[in-house]
């Protein structure tokens, strides 16, 4: 698998390389400067109004005629939307007239006023239904009322071209334009573009400016990730042009060993020299030292041999070791083990090669069958991704290319995982009734989609035909035809684009059902037979499972949409609505050309329904009083009727209307009201029917009769037939999607985490790549990145700062990570990135210098870039960038990092640090620490979480631990030998790995422990000399230094016990020779130093205190030597023994056998 991953990476790399040479791109920095230039070139300058958080005004100041004295605006809050009231008071005394153009959606008002008095005000008043433009001036009052529900609240522009006519009657223009900018929710751009423009030479120019700004923002916002990533692939010194071949890479990995061959030989020769000298023993050492050394040396030798034998066996037994250290394995398989010492010199080369390559070999573990399922485990996927990123840098790939590459790689990986998940699900579902019923539902959904599609298509056709007829209608004048064209162009881009989206992949919906059933879609195929497709369909018998899996994938796309796009059902609804709007707009427009007053009709209808609502309410109350109370209806029923009457009160009534979307038209509101009243009427009637039945009435109440005679028709007047069908479709798609997701959860849940993880990680990388794109330098300067100086320049001016950060915010927000970005978060990330870029630039310069000097460059030289890139990725993950539930432009909440949104990212900082350290250590030939990193990364593969036994591999917990211990143990040994510079290092390597280390802790934490042990402490005892008891000297008490050495068997009484017990059989006691006896003046001070002096067998029971090296115990000990007592001038000798109580420090020498808990 690792090889295939590697192949994919290379193909991605090569592709990216081809991109490099052809693509150039504008940087965000230049876009921001262009935006500012655009404003300035239009004679606009920035004026800050109020504090810095308040809005800016973009003004062009006329010399001698400051605009603020010319126009006095009533409110800074006014919005372009027709939902707010605004008064523009024009207070300039010299003003002689005003030409007003009010344009909104499809509606125009154009008036010209001249004034006797020079004071004007333009008053935009907003009421529930109407919108009034009122102009007050010396000429009097002019007022135009528009029913705003005739027009959707889409974008539009209000322009007022205000003339000041001079003495000669020539107009002097002062214009203002208000526009709803796309960027109004952007905390930076909203400050910069308050949507008001003054004194731009003509309103056409001002519209053009607004459009240019909107276009810039749109371009930034909608630049696809792929394109943004391409822009990052520009070639420079570090780019993929330096891409080495696979052979070169392999060579590079082994490089440290080759370049340090001389050092290695030196070490080897010193090892040989030490071996020749090793035969000389220093016979001057004392017998005891000699004995101890002999025993220890012999023991060590035995251990070394056993270790080498074990190593050979383990390399065979444990496939993980074989994969990580293949050269060592080969070498050791072919040697005569007893000669291991002399062969170590040659083995060293194999060890070094293996260690240098261990970094790239780690992912090969996943080739082992038992790990093969792990590539669906989020932590493993994250590790592999981070690992690959580091690996890329190790190979010298450009840093800014790594993130986009990793992103592409993750997307590919996700596709693979999805495919496997679908195959696994297909296998589980194949032949089951669940699949049959799901397939049946999908079929029905597909059929309904087609029915709705056809209806909307017909509708669109009719609408377009109506436009064609209007275009060629010779009864309309040119101005009217232009208005038709304008409306058409306004709506057509929307429905055409929706149509295209719907058509994309529509055909695939036709094959889903057959595929789900594991069959080719014969009906579909046979409908359009083509020779060139014959082989494709009938070449080989298709695998039913693969077809079912493909069917599941296609179902997913149909039900949930492709890559975050809306599903077909939703697209159909949007299309339907778009076609409806275009149809209505034309109808209204054509109506407005004829004398028929649609507006009056609508208002009449509105009036009618309002009257119905009010009269129904009164009628219910009257009916209660005049009929139901007299008939003895229960309080419960009467209150129920009163309650229903209450629902017809005005506030509740209007509530129904408020539920409608913002762009609801008057017709929608009319329908909402009709439906509301109609539903209440139905409830009243049902209640009254049941009351009548209960009271056994034969007659109907007056209201019942009235309602039956003239029922309110609930069917909406203007509702489209397809509207309810699209709702059915959307609900159906949601239900089926739920079913599919339950099936996945039940059967292939392990894949779901992986898919989610790859998606989220990919999105993070995408975000990072876009962020990096924002810092792309000016291509003309040849700088890849923005320099710190340029950045500071941008930041130092308010205008450029808001433009730059605003565009950046717009770009990042358009990635739609699910939460709103906080302005602080964006600013912090910007700072972090510019620092990273600064670091990289410094390193880059130093590398350029070294290149010029023809110095060779290695991993160490690139490492700072790598560290910076991964560090920046970690910054992106951990910097709080989301503002939870913000109120429009206020970001007061606690910002949250990406890990909050995508929890699976949490382990990335840890994994990336370990991976970086591994490669860093390997490059520095710090093999020991590298082994620790390796084991940590292995744990990521083997363990699901930090909990040691939350396994993700198929091994048992202890098996995984054994593998881990073995990797560490043998890896450390290889590392020790590989790094050896003198003979002592080799011995140390053996000592560290081969000889089992004793630790007092071992016998305290493990259930059972058997080993060679020593204690160091004091004993108090009573000594007996068997044959000297008559002398009166013995028994005697003694306190002595005690250093017994012997075999120990330790055990714990329970797993949770604090300390442990030891049965100790001392053989020697070095302390005994130093004992002195209390009250014994007749015994020689010290026995002679002989073997007998230390031989001291016995048996003791000890308690080992937990969490400390101290032990206490009691027992019996013989010797250590015979006692000689002189009584009456006669020396009498006797062997001695003693009962003793002992307290001392536990000093284990070797552990032979240990049973862990």
């Amino acid at each position: 698998m690792a090889q295939s991953i590697s192949r994919i990476w290379w193909s991605v790399l090569l592709l990216s390389f081809f991109h490099l040479t052809s693509l150039q791109g504008q940087s965000l920095y230049l876009e921001a400067l262009d935006l500012v230039n655009l404003l300035e070139n239009n004679g606009v300058e920035v004026k800050i109004v109020g504090d810095s958080a308040a809005t800016y005004e973009l003004l062009k100041k006329q010399p001698g005629q400051p605009p603020e004295s010319l126009y006095n605006f009533g409110s800074q809050q006014d919005s372009f939307l027709l939902q707010e009231e605004t008064t523009y008071a024009i207070t300039n005394k010299g003003l002689k007239g005003i030409d007003l153009t009010f344009r909104y959606d499809t509606m125009y008002i154009q008036r010209s006023f001249t004034a006797a008095d020079q004071v004007f005000s333009i008053d935009l008043q907003n009421e529930a239904t109407f919108f009034t433009v009122k102009v007050v001036g010396g000429f009097g009052v002019w007022e135009q009322t528009i029913n705003k529900y005739l027009y959707s609240n889409a974008q539009g522009i209000i322009q007022a071209n205000i003339f000041n006519r001079n003495r000669n009657g020539q107009p002097i223009r002062y214009n203002f334009t208000r526009s709803r900018a796309l960027s109004e929710e952007n905390p930076f751009l909203s400050k910069l573009f308050p949507t008001t423009y003054f004194d731009i030479p003509s309103w056409k120019d001002s519209i053009k400016l607004v459009q240019q700004i909107d276009n810039t923002v749109k371009t930034i916002e909608r630049q696809p990730t792929a394109q943004a990533l391409d822009l990052l692939y520009e070639a420079d010194g570090f780019s993929a042009t330096l891409l080495p071949s696979i052979e070169q890479i392999t060579k590079e990995y082994a490089e440290p060993a080759i370049t340090n061959l001389a050092a290695a030989q030196e070490t080897v020769s010193s090892i040989s020299a030490s071996q020749s000298a090793a035969g000389e023993l220093d016979f001057s050492t004392t017998l005891i030292t000699g004995l101890a050394d002999f025993v220890l040396d012999r023991a060590q030798e035995e251990f070394n041999y056993a270790f080498m034998e074990n190593l050979r066996k383990r390399l065979d037994d444990i496939p993980e070791l074989g994969i990580l250290f293949p050269d060592s394995k080969n070498f050791l398989e072919n040697i005569n083990l007893p000669n291991y010492k002399s062969l170590l010199i040659s083995a060293r080369e194999a060890f070094v090669d293996d260690l240098n390559l261990v970094g790239i070999r780690l992912p090969e573990l996943l080739d082992l069958p038992k790990y093969q399922h792990l590539d669906t485990v989020p932590s493993v996927i994250n590790m592999l991704t981070v690992y690959n990123m580091v690996d890329f840098a190790y190979r010298g790939v450009a840093i800014d290319t790594i993130i986009p590459l990793a992103y592409t790689q993750l997307l590919k990986r996700r596709k693979e995982v999805k495919k496997r998940s679908n195959l696994a699900l297909a296998e589980k579902l194949s032949g089951t009734s669940t699949l049959a019923s799901f397939s049946e539902s999908i079929d029905q959904h597909h059929k309904l989609l087609n029915v709705v599609y056809d209806s909307i298509n017909l509708k669109q056709n009719k609408m377009q035909a109506a436009y064609i007829k209007a275009f060629v209608d010779i009864s309309l004048d040119s101005n009217q035809i232009n208005q038709v064209k304008q409306i058409y162009s306004q709506y057509s881009s929307n429905f055409n684009s929706l149509y295209r989206q719907i058509r994309t992949g529509w055909d695939t919906t036709a094959v889903i059902t057959s595929y789900l059933q594991g069959e080719l879609a014969y009906q579909y195929i046979l409908a359009a037979p083509r020779v060139e497709n014959y082989e494709k369909y009938f070449g080989t018998l298709p695998n039913p499972l693969q077809l079912t899996a493909a069917g599941l994938e296609l179902s997913d796309i149909m039900l949930n949409g492709f890559e975050g796009q809306p599903n077909k059902a939703r697209l159909l609804r949007e299309w339907d609505q778009s076609v409806d709007r275009a149809t209505k707009a034309l109808e209204y427009l054509l109506d407005s050309f004829t004398p028929t007053d649609t507006l009056a009709e609508l208002n009449k209808a509105l009036q009618n329904i309002t009257e119905t609502q009010r009269s129904l309410r009164t009628d219910i109350q009257t009916d209660i009083q005049t009929f139901w109370e007299a008939k003895g209806a229960t309080t419960f029923d009467i209150k129920a009727l009163e309650y229903l009457a209450g629902t017809l009160q005005d506030p509740e009534f209007f509530f129904a209307e408020r539920q409608l979307p913002e762009d609801a038209t008057l017709f929608d509101k009319l329908n909402a009201r009709r439906n509301y009243v109609g539903n209440v009427e139905q409830l009243v009637l049902t209640r009254m029917d049941s009351m009548a039945a209960e009271l056994k009435l034969s007659e109907q109440s007056p209201l019942m009769q009235k309602m039956r005679a003239q029922p309110i028709i609930v069917t909406p007047l203007f509702n489209s037939a397809t509207d309810s069908l699209t709702t059915v479709l959307i609900n159906e798609a949601a239900n089926l999607s739920g079913t599919l997701s339950t099936l996945r959860q039940d059967s292939v849940s392990s894949y779901l985490g992986a898919i989610k993880n790859t998606t989220n990680f990919a999105r993070t990388l995408e975000f990072t790549a876009h962020l990096m794109y924002c810092f792309k330098g000016d291509p003309s300067t040849g700088k890849k990145w923005l320099t710190a100086e340029q950045f500071n320049n941008v930041m130092s001016s308010q205008l450029t700062r808001e433009a730059y950060l605003g565009l950046m915010y717009q770009r990042l927000s358009s990635l739609n990570l699910g939460e709103r970005l906080s302005s602080d978060g964006v600013a912090n990330l910007a700072t972090s990135l510019i620092n990273t870029i600064g670091d990289i630039n410094i390193q880059k310069d130093s590398i350029r210098v070294r290149r010029k000097r023809d110095e060779s460059l290695g991993f160490r030289d690139y490492y700072p870039f790598l560290r910076a890139t991964i560090g920046f990725l970690n910054d992106v993950i951990t910097t709080p960038i989301f503002a939870p539930r913000p109120n429009r432009l206020q970001f007061t909440g606690n910002a949250l990092p990406l890990t909050q949104q995508f929890g699976v990212l949490r382990n990335i900082p840890v994994i990336s640090t370990q991976t970086l350290d591994l490669f860093d250590n390997l490059s520095q030939r710090e093999y020991g620490p590298a082994m620790a990193n390796l084991v940590q990364l292995y744990e990521t593969i083997a363990f699901r979480t930090d909990n040691p036994c939350d396994l993700i591999s198929e091994d048992s917990c202890s098996a995984v631990r054994r593998i881990k211990t073995n990797i560490l143990r043998y890896g450390t040994f290889f590392a020790g030998v590989a790094s050896a510079k003198e003979p002592g290092d080799i011995s140390a390597a053996f000592a560290a790995a081969a000889v089992p280390k004793g630790s007092s802790r071992t016998k305290r934490v493990n259930m059972l422990d058997f080993g060679l042990n020593s204690y160091f402490g004091g004993s108090f005892g009573r000594e007996n000399a068997v044959e000297l008891n008559e002398t009166g000297v013995f028994p005697l008490n003694n306190i002595s230094l005690s250093v017994p050495i012997g075999l120990s068997l330790s055990f714990k009484t329970s797993k949770d016990a604090w300390g442990s017990w030891t049965l100790f059989a001392p053989i020697l006691d070095l302390g005994a020779v130093t004992s002195f006896r209390i009250g014994d003046d007749n015994v020689e001070d010290l026995p002679k130093l002989s073997f007998e002096n230390i031989l001291s067998p016995g048996l003791m029971g000890l308690y080992n205190f937990g969490n400390s090296p101290f032990s206490v115990g009691a027992g019996w000990q013989y010797g250590p030597n015979t006692r000689t007592v002189t009584v009456n001038g006669v020396d009498t000798e006797s062997s001695a023994y003693r009962w003793t109580v002992f307290l001392g420090i536990d000093v284990p020498i070797f552990d032979f056998y240990t049973v862990e808990d």
Partner: protein
Amino acid sequence: MNQLNRKMSDRVNSINTAITTKFLFLPDIRTIAPILGVTAEAMQTALTTMADNNNTYQELLTHDKVLVTEPTIIKCETKLRAFENASIPELVATFTDLSAFIQAQLDAADGVATEGVVTDAKDNPS
């Protein structure tokens, strides 16, 4: 709707879209007609008829009353391309041609409706 009918329906849709889009960039027919050497009334009639025919045809396609064949699609495709590339003087010929084409399809559909036989004789040599 079967696959080929849907394809045809797409083409009809495309024709409408192409015509409407084209008209966005053309002056009104009072200006075009003289260039084309026809009266504005004649041009209005031609286009209105075609738009209505398109609708009828589209509706019949939806109900599978017309069984479309590949040659029909190809022919329609050719007409569509001709229309998209047509200069103003060529337009009227294209309009007339399109009207005739759609009318022919409708006639064929009539045959289907009355005789119950699926046919596409004008475009299908067999």
